[in-house]
């Protein structure tokens, strides 16, 4: 009878070990499409190799995922969430995030100051919203040195901007009028004066790329990564970094409160901040790494909007306070819709 007992014991051990392996699964909430692919091809690949754990994705738009997270408060569907810096503040203020212990993330010691968003969420990669333009469709020699150049009469009916986020132009107008994000009303009249130069407003990345690609709006307040993507498809688009700075955008990561895989989640974040992974992300998306230890190829590092030195982070980035942006984004959007778009 010893043999069957031994077999049963072995089977029991095998089952329990399988169960333990099955529990080692991290669920990540992220945007779909190329963003999910980016995380899968870079971070997840290394994370799986290092931990042997499995990864599952929940994909969706920024707001869809926020709503779902709110509905599942306390029993989250995902362990980790990627979202934008200011929307991350909404997760934080609604108690959806776990406070982060950076001591558990060895690679966080290289994190740039601008990527330390809150005690709950930190940067995963960065980009800028700046002036993208088609030199072939503008008067010869036209250059952008300041955001003020957008107001030039030569650009009448030529520019476009996102309709889902007015924060870039609202804050830029305030800065040009001697104010800042907190005193954004100072730039109101200036922004209204830009109205004749607008050709259209885009609702998503695809529409932004299409407007630039077909030349309908040859000047755009544009996500740098989108500009580099269509440039790689042969569209002669260029990016300018105005002297006031390009508006910094940071996508972030946070651990969901109630996650049952907190230790694994910390390991994932550490892999995300690994210098090699950060360099790979920056190379694929032409964005900025959020750790100073990432080494980029010179042809990537020299691109406008890719920040690799503290000097660039400090001088070329126009940073809107993320918490303030989270609080005021609705008001800005409403004002922009009522006074500029319509």
């Amino acid at each position: 009878m010893r043999m069957p007992i031994a077999i049963l014991a072995a089977a029991g051990i095998a089952l329990s070990s399988t169960a333990s392996l099955a529990a080692e699964k991290l669920v990540i909430s992220v945007w779909g499409g190329s963003w999910k692919d980016l995380v899968e091809q870079t971070v997840v690949k290394k994370f799986k190799a290092e931990t042997g754990a499995d990864v599952e994705f929940i994909t969706g738009g920024t707001i869809d995922r926020l709503n779902k997270a709110k509905l599942a408060k306390g029993n989250p569907e995902s362990d980790l969430t990627f979202t934008t810096s200011h929307v991350g503040w909404l997760y934080a203020t609604d108690g959806l995030y776990e406070p982060l212990d950076l001591g558990k993330i060895p690679n966080a010691k290289w994190l740039v100051e601008q990527a330390k968003i809150s005690p709950y969420h930190i940067g995963s990669w960065a980009y800028v919203y700046t002036i993208g333009y088609r030199p072939d469709l503008l008067p010869a020699g036209f250059k952008f040195e300041s955001w003020n150049d957008l107001w030039k009469p030569e650009l009448k009916g030529k520019i476009s901007a996102p309709d889902f986020d007015a924060s870039h132009l609202v804050v830029v107008s305030a800065v040009l009028s001697g104010g800042d994000a907190a005193t954004w009303q100072k730039g109101g009249d200036k922004l209204k004066a830009l109205k004749p130069n607008f050709k259209a407003y885009y609702a998503n990345d695809a529409a932004s790329q299409q407007l630039m690609q077909n030349g309908e709006a040859p000047v755009q307040v544009m996500l740098s990564m989108n500009a580099y993507y269509i440039a790689s498809q042969g569209v002669p688009v260029e990016l300018a970094i105005p002297k006031e700075g390009a508006v910094l955008g940071i996508d972030t990561i946070g651990i969901m409160k109630g996650s049952k895989n907190v230790d694994l989640a910390y390991k994932f974040i550490n892999v995300l901040l690994d210098p090699a992974v950060q360099a790979e992300i920056a190379t694929l998306k032409k964005g900025s790494p959020v750790v100073t230890s990432a080494k980029l190829a010179p042809e990537i590092a020299k691109l406008p909007g890719v920040f690799t030195t503290p000097d660039q982070w400090n001088k070329e980035a126009l940073v809107i306070d993320h918490k303030l942006r989270g609080e005021l984004t609705g008001e800005w959007r409403k004002w922009f819709t009522e006074n500029v778009i319509n």
Binding site: I63, L66, N67, K70, W89, L90, T93, D94, S160, D163, F164, D165, K199, A200, Y201, Y202, A203, A206, A207, Q210, L211, N214, G215, E216, K323, G326, E327, L328, T329, G330, E331, R333, K334, T337, E338, I341, N342
Partner: protein, 293 residues
């Protein structure tokens, strides 16, 4: 009269048949609860920087007094009306040919080309229109190459462009409804008119067209209501320059996390839909009566 008088013999014999109404009752209840939730959200305060809502207020409705909202609400009604009328004018000959043609090839061709837009995804269909209507798109390329115009016509981000794209998807619905109405017209009426000396045009104008009145009213009303809910088409082809109520709900509500204001816009939009359709049905009632035969 007792209670049994109102129950049909079939229902008495098969009381379980009542259970079959359960799915409809549950669906109706879900819709009603959703509507109540929206109504409840519309009278709650928005708390900036939070997903939670505050106490009760009418400020969301007061906020709609800004001229922008009147402009967009008017534009919505105008686009719906324009789309419905153009769909009717284009759809009637197609529906007539679909019903009266004896050539199977012609019937199949009309049916396939008319109904195909319904099977295309809204986003795919809309992006196709962006390609067709753009400055370097098909329409402008043809017009410029043939020398009809020297500079591209501005079709994207205009009411014209949005209307063209909206008609594309509304047309199949109108054609199907008109075809059903025309098919129900007894050909003997037309033959009788012909035998009394009426020519084809007179037969059409005095017999066929009036008798298809109910189909015309149904097609117009459906096209109007159908267009009211359009979102992706005005969003993408309108490029933020031509907005409908649904676009405002998205822009000011969901993109801003201001759910109370979005809910208030939904309630106002719904009320506008009911009022518009009521006015339309009332004004078209004489036409409908003519066609009842």
């Amino acid at each position: 009269m007792n209670a049994h008088d109102t129950i049909s013999p079939t229902a008495t014999r098969r009381p379980f048949l009542k259970l079959f109404t359960a799915p409809a009752v549950i669906t109706a209840a879900i819709f009603a609860i959703s509507m109540l939730a929206i109504l409840q959200f519309s009278i709650r305060k928005h708390i900036p920087g939070s997903l939670d809502v505050g106490g009760f207020t009418l400020a969301n409705f007061a906020g709609m007094l800004h001229p922008l909202y009147a402009k967009v609400f008017f534009q919505t009604v105008w686009l719906c009306l324009l789309t419905a009328v153009i769909s009717l004018v284009l759809g009637y000959p197609l529906a007539y040919a679909l019903v009266r043609s004896t050539n199977l090839f012609v019937k199949s061709f009309i049916l396939i080309t008319t109904v195909t837009p319904l099977f295309l995804g809204e986003v795919v269909r809309t992006y196709s229109w962006i390609v067709v209507l753009g400055n370097n798109g098909f329409v402008n390329s043809v017009l410029m190459q043939t020398g009809i115009i020297a500079t591209p016509l501005q079709l994207l981000f205009t009411v014209t462009g949005v209307t063209i794209a909206l008609v594309h998807v509304t047309l199949p619905v109108v054609v199907i409804m008109l075809a059903a109405a025309i098919a129900h017209i007894d050909p003997d009426y037309e033959k009788a008119a012909e035998s009394l000396g009426a020519g084809p045009v007179r037969v059409f104008l005095t017999v066929t067209l009036p008798l298809s009145g109910p189909g015309i009213v149904a097609g117009l009303t459906t096209a109007f209501a159908w267009t009211f809910s359009a979102f992706a088409t005005p969003q993408l082809v309108g490029g933020g320059k031509v907005n409908m109520v649904s676009n405002l709900v998205y822009q000011l509500g969901f993109a801003n996390f201001n759910f109370p204001f979005a809910a208030a816009l939904c309630v106002a939009g719904l009320a506008l839909t009911y009022v518009s359709i009521f006015v339309m049905r009332t004004s078209l009632r004489p036409l409908e009566k003519v066609g009842l035969h």
